[in-house]
């Protein structure tokens, strides 16, 4: 095999991008360009990395489809690191299929993990989980096993399963150490720190306190009736009534949970649900309709009783009602929640992840920037947003060097 390419690939695999660049810095042939691209990505210069990988892909000949597919996978990983979530999912899919067909199982699996991570980042958990199901990480090299466990942990975390998250992260940590890639270990560590950070607030009987993920899991498994403002649902054990697409009903449920066991005045409910300052008769009529709808939806879990002033929530079995709220009382908590991962996001990626319009994300970002809570990098279409202080791009660039045929 090509001596310098072999040497550079070994340096990259050992986490030494400078060593690799030293060996192939002046070479313009496709394998050298690919290695330079991966090295630049490991050094955090994602724009240059993308350029080099694209050039490399073009440079491989017609008999080198596998090498070209590996470049496509590497470029997809760079795009993911730059939080360019609108990247060409189809190209990645095609590259993965080719690698699978040609028996390059490790790189095919790597491509699959990129697909799963993208789904996870844009909040499509079910799809991410389905794609993950067919993958057994056991035969993969340590870096890929770490990636597998990180994705498992990511899904478990978003499903509020603290124990499963902790178990997956412990496995990820072992695999990352075995792989000896510092960026990977750092990624696992930052995920572990998230487990200790407040994940939500518990509001009940006029008091509130922050909850870590494990405490959220315990609360949801308890016998309390939980009005979950993080997910817009009302739940008691396994029973769940989703109000995700019913913002008015959820606002009413939140107000009632907060006041429990007391009641809430009609005026307060009107203000919370419709933002109505001076309620007129039509508002009152609408409130009656909405209360009726909420009553019907909550029937399996709770009564909604009319009081002299307004309404009160009365759980059927639960002894307690708790409102579970996002960790900060921020106006743009959802945007901040995504940026809390420490990565740089484009506003279009945030809009995609939040399922909202780019314009409203932009408004939220501008407001947060004015308060110094987020900062922008780059200009125009290349602009990215992140929370200060500026962290490094921690992404595990795992792709083994695209050796010809190897």
């Amino acid at each position: 095999m090509d001596s310098l390419i072999t040497a550079a690939a070994r340096a990259l695999a050992a986490g030494d991008p400078f060593g690799a660049l030293n060996l192939v810095a002046l070479r313009e042939d496709a394998p050298a360009l690919a290695l330079r691209g991966i090295a630049m990505a490991q050094l955090g210069d994602l724009a240059r990395a993308k350029l080099l990988l694209r050039k490399a892909a073009r440079g491989f000949g017609p008999r080198e489809a596998v090498a070209r597919a590996r470049c496509v996978v590497a470029e997809a990983e760079v795009a993911l690191a730059a939080r360019d979530l609108n990247g060409p999912a189809k190209t990645l899919e095609a590259a993965r299929a080719l690698l699978e067909a040609q028996g390059d199982r490790a790189n095919a699996a790597h491509a699959r993990y990129l697909e799963v991570r993208r789904l996870l980042l844009i909040g499509r958990l079910d799809e991410a989980e389905r794609k993950l199901e067919g993958l057994d990480p056991a035969p993969f090299p340590p870096a890929l096993r770490a990636a597998h466990e990180l994705v498992v942990a990511g899904i478990a975390m978003r499903r509020l399963q603290a124990r499963a998250t902790r178990a997956a992260l412990a496995k990820a940590e072992r695999a990352a150490r075995q792989a000896g890639i510092p960026a990977l270990t750092a990624e696992v560590e930052s995920a572990q720190r998230l487990l200790q950070a407040p994940a939500a607030r518990r509001i009940a009987r006029g008091g509130e306190r922050p909850l870590r993920l494990a405490e959220v899991e315990t609360l949801l498994a308890s016998k309390a009736l939980v009005v979950d403002a993080c997910r817009r649902a009302v739940r008691e054990g396994d029973k769940l009534v989703s109000l995700a697409t019913r913002p008015v009903l959820f606002a009413l449920a939140g107000a009632l949970a907060e006041a429990w066991p007391g009641d809430v005045a009609r005026e307060t409910l009107l203000a919370r649900a419709f933002g109505a300052k001076h309620a007129d008769e039509s508002h009152r009529a609408r409130l009656r309709v909405e209360i009726g709808r909420l009553r019907a939806m909550l029937r399996p879990l709770a009564h909604l009783s009319a009081t002299k002033q307004g309404f009160a929530l009365a759980p059927r079995r639960a002894r307690e009602v708790v409102l579970l709220a996002p960790p900060g009382e921020e106006a743009h908590a959802a945007v901040l929640a995504f940026l809390a991962d420490g990565e740089a996001w484009s506003s279009s990626a945030l809009a995609l992840a939040l399922g909202t319009s780019q314009r409203s994300v932009q408004r939220a970002l501008d407001a947060l920037a004015a308060e110094g809570k987020v900062q922008a990098l780059g200009r125009a279409r290349a602009r990215r947003w992140m929370t200060p202080p500026l962290p490094a791009f921690t992404t595990a660039l795992l792709l083994p060097a695209p050796l010809p045929g190897g």
Binding site: M1, D2, S3, L4, I5, T6, A7, R10, L23, R27, D29, A30, P31, A32, G61, P62, R63, E64, A65, V66, A67, Q102, G103, L403, P404, G405, G406
Partner: protein, 226 residues
């Protein structure tokens, strides 16, 4: 050009702890193959690894009858196989050096993407001659006056016998699709040894013998080894 399917006589490995076979050579008794951090001696009769020499070994390997030559990064190391010591180092001729052979007092260096075979002076590294091929060149070997090189381009790989003057392909043995070939070396008899790249294997492939030609070469590539 004569073209036929290569007949694989035997496969060795993959061996524990060895990720890839880069270059290889034959010293008349053992096959020495490069695997990144070391050169390993394989007994082709038993298939066992006898010993190894710790040295950077990223591409071609050759034997001149006494010494081993090994490409690492941008240089060629001359190694005493008895002690494992690096005795001498010369610069390797190009950027994409892959294969290495010894014949007629020269080293022959295969250059993968440059599709060339370069003859160099083993003392100084001076380039004496360049032969062009039209395929990517991996291993190189001389046997009975014939120049053979391995080729491996994406999915296609094989062993090619070329005219050292014109570069014309005289004969080609196709390996099964997906079989990688890194180093190649003739044993002077009826077989080539081939490095299997990332498969971690060494393969013995039958060498077509000329009508009436007896096994055991008399020319460069095997003569110096006995």
């Amino acid at each position: 050009m004569k073209r036929s399917a290569a007949e694989i006589i035997r496969e060795y490995g993959p061996f524990p702890g060895i990720e890839a076979v880069h270059g290889l050579t034959f010293d008349g008794r053992q096959v020495w193959f490069a695997s990144g951090d070391r050169i390993n001696a394989l007994d082709p009769a038993s298939g066992r690894l006898a010993r190894s020499i710790e040295v950077k070994a990223y591409a071609g390997t050759a034997f001149d009858g006494t010494h081993l030559y090994q490409i690492a990064e941008k240089r060629i190391q001359k190694i005493d196989p008895k002690t494992g010591r690096v005795l001498h180092t010369i610069p390797a001729p190009g950027d994409s050096n892959s294969g290495l052979a010894w014949a007629e007092g020269s080293l022959w260096v295969g250059q993968y993407r440059d599709r060339k075979i370069v003859q160099v002076d083993p003392e100084t590294g001076k380039v004496l001659r360049t032969i062009d091929s039209n395929r990517f060149v991996t291993g190189v070997t001389w046997v009975e006056g014939e120049l053979w090189h391995g080729t491996w381009e994406g999915d296609e790989s094989g062993l090619r016998h070329i005219d050292p003057k014109s570069g014309e392909v005289l004969e080609q043995l196709d390996l099964p699709p997906g079989t990688m070939v890194s180093g190649i070396e003739a044993d002077g008899g009826d077989r080539f040894y081939c490095g299997g790249g990332k498969s971690g294997k060494v393969r013995a492939v039958r060498r077509p013998t000329r009508g009436g030609a007896k096994a055991g070469g008399t020319e460069a590539g095997s003569a110096g080894r006995k």
